[in-house]
């Protein structure tokens, strides 16, 4: 018997009904994520990878198959999940700190303790000096860091990241990849990242689930055997490039 998976997905299927057409998005996707593991779902744009994440989050209803989080079938939204979206989705009317406090407010957690925790999280994402700034006073990258802090605010067991850096420029994106790696190694949250950036997926993940074009099927699950802790320089190493090449070939891109 294996230990209980943090996330277990088996033969997941999703069909969207638009007008009279049935559009298949996921066509039998199965994989599991161990507790504390960082797994990426990688695939071309519009292949349904976000659908996988939304079903795990309980925000989208699956058509068939099974999804379990901590051994419990997912039937709807669940509080043990922290969400980061493609856009920061901060509340413009609240400061960075107040944005991070939102989950605690909704869950009715102790105010004083949540405040301390929110401060710590802002420190973790490197924004303790910006606690009282409003989102419009922060850069896109900073806003996304606040969103990461907010996702961790209620200490969820699982972190779901839906293309969190794809709206940022390359330099900021690289920077935030490094930050996320550091945050993950400090908190060891089970993480599921949806991305279409091959280097981002390799740099961050233990394993990468590579999806094909819609309707999505798993092309392969690639284990990233780069040792941890990973230094940013690993991204120019030969072994890194070999994985880039391998995944590139899987999705039909020629890298070398």
């Amino acid at each position: 018997m294996r230990a209980r998976a943090a996330i277990e997905i088996a033969d997941l299927r999703k069909t969207y009904a638009i007008a009279d057409c049935e559009i298949p998005a996921l066509d039998g996707v199965s994989f599991r994520i161990e507790p504390g593991e960082f797994v990426s779902v990688l695939g071309p744009s519009g292949c349904g990878k976000t659908t996988v994440l939304r079903i795990v989050a309980g925000l989208t209803v699956k058509t068939s198959g099974s999804v379990e989080v901590d051994g419990v079938p997912v039937t709807g939204p669940q509080r043990k999940i922290g969400l980061v979206f493609q856009v920061p989705a901060l509340m413009k009317w609240r400061t960075a700190l107040e944005n991070v406090l939102l989950p605690a407010e909704i869950l009715g957690l102790d105010r004083a303790a949540s405040r301390v925790r929110a401060q710590e999280l802002l420190e973790l994402v490197g924004l303790s000096e910006f606690a009282s700034r409003y989102p419009r006073e922060l850069s896109g990258g900073m806003q996304q860091r606040v969103a990461i802090a907010r996702a961790l605010a209620h200490d969820p067991a699982i972190l779901l990241l839906d293309e969190p850096f794809s709206a940022l420029d390359m330099m900021t994106r690289n920077q935030l990849n490094i930050e996320l790696l550091r945050i993950w190694s400090e908190r060891q949250k089970t993480s599921l990242l949806v991305t279409h950036s091959i280097p981002e997926a390799i740099f961050l993940s233990d394993r990468i689930v590579v999806l094909g074009p819609r309707p999505a099927r798993i092309l392969d699950v690639v284990t990233v055997s780069l040792p941890r802790p990973r230094d940013p320089s690993v991204r120019v190493s030969l072994s890194f490039m070999q994985i880039v090449d391998r995944i590139g070939r899987l999705v039909g891109l020629e890298y070398i």
């Binding site: 979206f85 989705a89 009317w93 869950l107 419009r136």
Partner: protein
């Protein structure tokens, strides 16, 4: 006051002074009869003459306008909330609202006189009726304009409907509610005046009717001036509250949605 806004005030004042001065000059040079177009000095004199009386009439119109406006804000935001939170009601409420809006209020005003008499109440009702629609439409669009990701975040945290409404919808809607209120307040004044035109013996609208009957054009101009002043003050008050209540909302220009004019 920062230099830029001081500059703006100066520019505006200068424009007004030039306008009024050329008006005065033209009236005197061309010897235009006062019953056609009175000179600003004549209007000012007329205003000064019986300022107690005008103050009373102005106050009545302000009262009708603000009462109608606040009723419109209260009922307008409440209706918008119902439309947005209970989507099933939308299909019934929206067409009804539209039909109500398409009925010309000027045509209804005489009926209100029959039903509610000559007091202030029918004027308040008309002000309310014309101010209501922009508030409903803007509030509903504001309440519905929450970022979908925020709603996802809310449902992921299993936020209650109440929490979603107060923490996400209402703050997101405030800029649009304020644009609705700005349109509504200018309409509410028109509503109150229509009410006073149709019947009554108080208010600036009544004063204009009297002035017209007596060919006292200077008085009519004085009343119109007071009306505009009321309008500008009420509008400025709303912009002031907007600045205080939603400082995070920085409009990019006076002509964009929710932009500030003053």
């Amino acid at each position: 006051m920062p230099l830029a806004s001081l500059h703006r005030v100066l520019k505006l004042t200068l424009t007004l002074v030039v306008l009024v001065a050329s008006w005065e000059a033209l009236c005197r040079l061309l010897q235009i009869p006062a019953f056609l177009i009175p000179a600003p000095s004549q209007v000012a004199l007329r205003l000064y003459d019986k300022h107690d009386l005008y103050f009373m009439h102005t106050w009545i119109t302000i009262y009708e306008t603000t009462a109608g406006f606040f009723l419109a804000v209260a009922f307008g935001i409440a209706s918008a909330a119902i439309i947005v939170v209970i989507p099933r009601l939308r299909d019934v409420v929206m067409p009804l609202l539209l039909v109500a809006q398409l009925v010309p209020k000027v045509a209804v005003a005489p009926l209100l006189l029959i039903w509610f008499g000559y007091g202030l109440f029918p004027k308040i009702i008309i002000a309310f009726l014309v101010a209501f629609f922009p508030i409903v439409v803007n509030s509903a669009s504001g309440l519905a304009s929450v970022q979908p990701e925020l709603l996802d975040l809310g449902s992921s945290l299993q936020a209650s409907r109440w929490q979603t409404f107060w923490k996400f919808r209402v703050p997101s809607a405030l800029p649009e509610i304020f644009s609705g209120m700005k349109i509504a307040v200018t309409l509410a004044i028109i509503g109150a005046i229509i009410g006073e035109f149709v019947g009554g013996n108080r208010g600036l609208g009544y004063l204009i009717i009297v002035a017209n009957q007596e060919l006292d054009t200077a008085l009519a101009f004085a009343a119109i001036f007071l009306l505009s002043a009321v309008g500008i003050v009420l509008y400025a008050l709303i912009e002031m509250f907007e600045r205080i209540l939603i400082p995070w909302h920085a409009p990019s220009g006076p002509l964009t949605t929710g932009g500030r004019m003053l």
